[in-house]
Amino acid sequence: MTIPALRIEGLHKSFGDLAVLRGIDMVVEEHEVVCLIGASGSGKSTLLRCINLLEPIDAGRIFIKDDEITADGVHLDRIRRRIGIVFQAFNLFPHMSVLDNVTLAPRKALRLPREQAEADATELLARFGLADKRNEVPDRLSGGQQQRVAIVRALAMKPDLLLLDEVTSALDPELVAEVLNVIRELAVGGMTMVIATHEMSFARDIADRVCFLDAGTIIEEGPPAQVLRDPTEARTRQFLQRIIEAGRL
């Protein structure tokens, strides 16, 4: 049996009195694509930020392959290089060109020589249709282009695991497809991904497994066809009912 890419045991996280995550257990196999669905405030984003150790956790353990990343004395910066995250609001560095956005971490964190980092970045940008944008600043790009650059920036670190936090929620509707296509391509390429999303039809297409979060716990999970079409939990049905009424599925 192979070691899972990600394993989470009994994860708890509170912000002050507000318990956001209340006992998350989760396993993601290598090359698996898992979509997290659930209402706003159900804990999807917090879960992703905890996996990346951007939020200190209150209880529980997280493993990447064999390594417990929540153990005392782990090297945070080294762990984060293995886990890419893409944010809803892109969070590109506005004072740098697209190329510098992509090469900053390889150059500074991995200490790659500039020429090599730039060659790698140029190749990645070209793969995602951004070759002609390499010298632009992020503000000159459309939202869809910015988000694709953010994905390339995360990929440039060659992460073992990619986390995507509602990456299309801040985009105009006509720009959503270009970003989803990039993610689809990554899935085909075998990238292990955990994706928080409101795009149910996308989740249905791309996910190997869907996890439904409600009030900080995963209350239902399974293949998308089952969870999205024939959920067993009443709260999952309610949630999907609202999504269908909003015309999103």
């Binding site: 930020r49 990346n52 951007l54 945070l76 910066d77 080294r78 984060r80 290089r81 886990i83 890419g84 995250i85 944010f87 609001a89 969070n91 590109l92 560095f93 506005p94 004072h95 900053l104 971490a105 500074k108 964190a109 991995l110 600043v137 503000d139 000159r140 920036r153 995360a154 670190m157």
Partner: protein
């Protein structure tokens, strides 16, 4: 809309603009003219005019003053070169997170609080007279040295607050993005946070430097022979205040271009922000 409407609107607008310009001009002229009239018709005006605005004394003292002004420029440039890194260090110390850094944060906070609270002239006195008075071997005694130290200590406190405001104005998501890529806290500060912060606070930084430039005259009190001290010597020799007025003119000539440059930077940044362009 009728075809004739836009020109009418435009003419009305320009009429309004012309009228408010005229009102502003007239009221300014009346106020300034009135003040001038009051001063010029004061009972003792002829004597004051002679004491403060004596042409020959002005031209006679000006070369000395300009020569002495080089001391102010040296003070200003050296202090500025020290204030920039020291102020930044203080700002970063104050921003260190977590309980581990409480002592460092506290130290930096106390420093900034104290040096902003104590009048600059007192700092200059204490350092300029007090420290050399201790006669510690190896510690310099020159007034110029202590003048630079005093100005650096005072202005670093102000400048660190400017930096801190800039650092805090960069959204935390920028740091999150940098850290998520595996950059260390220091690398994120150096490559992501500071470049954005410093660009935003350049105008207030320059503003503080205008203040520093002017405050170089305060060190005349501990015996540095700079422009104001020279003016005082000339004043005592001639029993005439004109050299002091000349000092004001020298500072105006130097400071106003710097102020305009600051305005220009602010306007440029606004234009860029409005265009959604490079920042």
């Amino acid at each position: 809309m009728t075809p004739g409407a836009p020109p009418i609107v435009r003419r009305r607008r320009s009429t309004v603009a012309w009228r408010s310009t005229a009102v502003a001009l007239v009221s300014t002229t009346v106020v300034l003219g009135g003040l001038a009239w009051v001063v010029v018709n004061a009972p003792n005006w002829p004597e004051v005019q002679q004491d403060f605005l004596d042409g020959p004394i002005f031209w006679e003292s000006l070369p000395d003053l300009i020569a002495a002004f080089w001391t102010n420029i040296r003070l200003f440039l050296i202090a500025e070169a020290l204030v920039l890194p020291f102020g930044l260090l203080l700002a970063i110390m104050r921003g260190l997170p977590g309980p581990v850094f409480v002592p460092i944060r506290g130290l930096a906070t106390a420093y900034v609080d104290i040096f902003r609270a104590v009048p600059g002239i007192v700092v200059i006195y204490v350092l300029g007279f007090g420290v050399p008075g201790l006669q510690i071997p190896g510690v310099p005694n020159e007034a110029f040295f202590w003048a630079v130290v005093a100005l650096t200590l005072i202005y670093s406190a102000y400048v660190s607050e400017v930096y801190r405001a800039g650092i805090e104005s960069v959204h935390p998501s920028q740091d999150a993005a940098a850290r998520s890529l595996g950059l260390s806290r220091l690398q994120s500060m150096r490559h992501v946070i500071l470049p954005q912060a410093i660009r935003r606070v350049t105008p207030p930084l320059l503003n503080d430097f205008i203040g520093l430039q002017k405050d170089t005259v305060l060190v005349s009190f501990i015996g540095v022979v700079e422009i104001f001290r020279t003016a005082q010597i000339d004043q005592a020799a001639n029993f005439n205040f004109t050299p002091v007025i000349a000092v004001a003119l020298v500072f105006i000539v130097v400071t106003i271009p710097l102020a305009r440059f600051t305005d220009w930077l602010v306007a440029r940044d606004k234009r860029r922000a409005a265009a959604g362009g490079a920042r």
